[in-house]
Symmetry: C2
Subunit: 420 residues, 2 copies
Amino acid sequence: MAKKNAFYAQSGGVTAVINASACGVIETARKHKDKIGKIYAGRNGILGALTEDLIDTGKESDSAIAALRSTPAGAFGSCRYKLKSLETSRREYERLIEVFKAHNIGTFFYNGGGDSADTCFKISQLAQSLGYPIQAIHVPKTVDNDLPITDCCPGFGSVAKYVAVSTLEASFDVRSMSSTSTKIFVLEVMGRHAGWIAAAGGLLVDHNIPVVILFPEVVFDQKKFLERVSAKVKQHGYCTVVVSEGCHHADGRYLAEQGTRDAFGHAQLGGAAPVVAGMIKDALGVKIHWAVADYLQRSARHIASKTDVKQAYELGRAAVNLALKGHNAVMPTIERISDVPYKYRIGVADLKDVANVEKFMPKNFISADGFGITEKCKRYLTPLIQGEDYPRYVGGLPDYVTLKNVAVAKKLKPFKIQSA
Amino acid sequence: MAKKNAFYAQSGGVTAVINASACGVIETARKHKDKIGKIYAGRNGILGALTEDLIDTGKESDSAIAALRSTPAGAFGSCRYKLKSLETSRREYERLIEVFKAHNIGTFFYNGGGDSADTCFKISQLAQSLGYPIQAIHVPKTVDNDLPITDCCPGFGSVAKYVAVSTLEASFDVRSMSSTSTKIFVLEVMGRHAGWIAAAGGLLVDHNIPVVILFPEVVFDQKKFLERVSAKVKQHGYCTVVVSEGCHHADGRYLAEQGTRDAFGHAQLGGAAPVVAGMIKDALGVKIHWAVADYLQRSARHIASKTDVKQAYELGRAAVNLALKGHNAVMPTIERISDVPYKYRIGVADLKDVANVEKFMPKNFISADGFGITEKCKRYLTPLIQGEDYPRYVGGLPDYVTLKNVAVAKKLKPFKIQSA
């Protein structure tokens, strides 16, 4: 078989370690020059493939590629662009194949979450039927930790570590202030449907710090919540609340959607934390501080989990090795062998089993009262935040790399994407 | 002169390094057992002195005291309780002297900002006039960096590092997403009156990242601001905004005070970031993300500046040395000798010159357009964020110390404080 090129793209919300997977893919592919030709990347994810805006990663030095391992966010640009069904988006799937064909691309590495696993699977199917076979390999990535089969997803361990560390630090702060000032600190974290990130706030359970967690998996019960917070403040003098952005009422409305308007009647961009803070203030009349971590949590490479960085890299490497072994429509996974000591191996899942399945927190990971995590959850989470993997600093700031991202000459006519 | 005891208290909003100053005070005092007896701490700051709720730091091991150096927040508890003038609060000042007398306390180390410098000064004055002389030494602490005379304040360098690192990381994130999704990221930071913290976002100036800063020192001009953000998005495809909580309109109203109400008419707890985000969204119609760092920024010991930790410790040590040399009503300071290489020495300021003076950003630290920092400001800030001083981690979390805080037996009648 003649040597073909490879294509790599980043998809969806970026993480602190998605570039570590890119590093794993590119460094491993570079070691197999006999079997893999050029390694292209999509500028801004799959959009780069659709618009034939390819990046030649061969123009990047080995040290620049190595630096990806400790650089957050998406070095080639990511995108939020979901290809729909083969019927609806057929023109776009066909365009992808055309671009791959024009650039002699034989392997498609797609680094993303559930949606991109689905896209990856469909590309592989269509390519077969169009007679231009593509090996489509999905590299898992999502801070939401909601992909099935794999024990965890790269990106999650680092955001979990960020949330656990931040909750610990802010709790020390509010504890110091509570005698005369702030008694409650509310931290809003990501997780629209799954409460994995919020659960990380529960890792402080052995530090005798009162933490109340609001999960998207548990319907919000205002009365019960306020009673719980009030009891914690009575007992400890203070309390920390970790609220998931996806926390919602029984009718499905997010807490953040309070119909909040400013003095001019403009709708305000939501936030669950200020809503929860306002609620507590109205009910308990105590001073409250709140924070919304937003992008800070998922880009916090400075406090990434070493375990997470390692797994992100390993899954990138495994993706290339799967391709070299002839696999198609698969995703390398983390298979946990034991909690203590933490042991895992790299497994493989068929994309047909991954696409469009969302993994929520199991019931037995959430404590009976709905406001905390169980011992079982703690055993699951603890290994994932182990170890620190500090970036190099120059002049007081992390020495994150910005690649040159040199474009590959186009060979096809322009393509108008449906919407972006 | 007979050996007397010492008293140490933490005041106001805590920081990532105030305990490093406590460590400097206690470790240094412990080395002078011939001159300093017991070292007491106030439980919850000055309230502990007023209510005779003293902590015997002698009950803490050397290793627990050493661990203070890398533990954020106030290990003995802080408080927001401002003693007023000697006339208004005379009963309380006298009570302090009574408690000091009852426990044979000869030195008062007060670790705080402008208000506590004022209190410290008054105690020293009153003690003289009541014939029970107290050496009152102030140890500077404030994330706001607004104390006069000293070149910088412990606590500031670490929050500046946190803000600079977070702005860099989140900017990498929004840059990755900007082609199809979020184009602007807004980060709200502390600083009610002085823009030192927001200025730290400008340290990315050499990273080719578009950052627009909103200072409390510059009256908010919505039109000019939106034009500036729009221009940055046109040029770079994305933009990061760092907004100080103290940013305000010409009439003095904070941006956060938008009269925001929820659907039930409840006032919402403010936040400048969501207001700025809403404003940009209305004007430019692009997708925006926002974060409010709140306590996270000042408790982030995990990313503390090594320079800041060192100076916090050194100023605690210097306070004890000043006491041993017989000084009274003074505060050790940082005197900068040079920017590059960064050199400084420990100086000393009279408290009468420190109390009630607030240091704002000099005009020549803010760029002509009002949205950035000057080269001069960068030269000032850069040394303060240098170096990392990582805490020890156990089980994936920082190993922060919680002291035993054993109470000293009371000798006086209870005292009712005016208000807390």
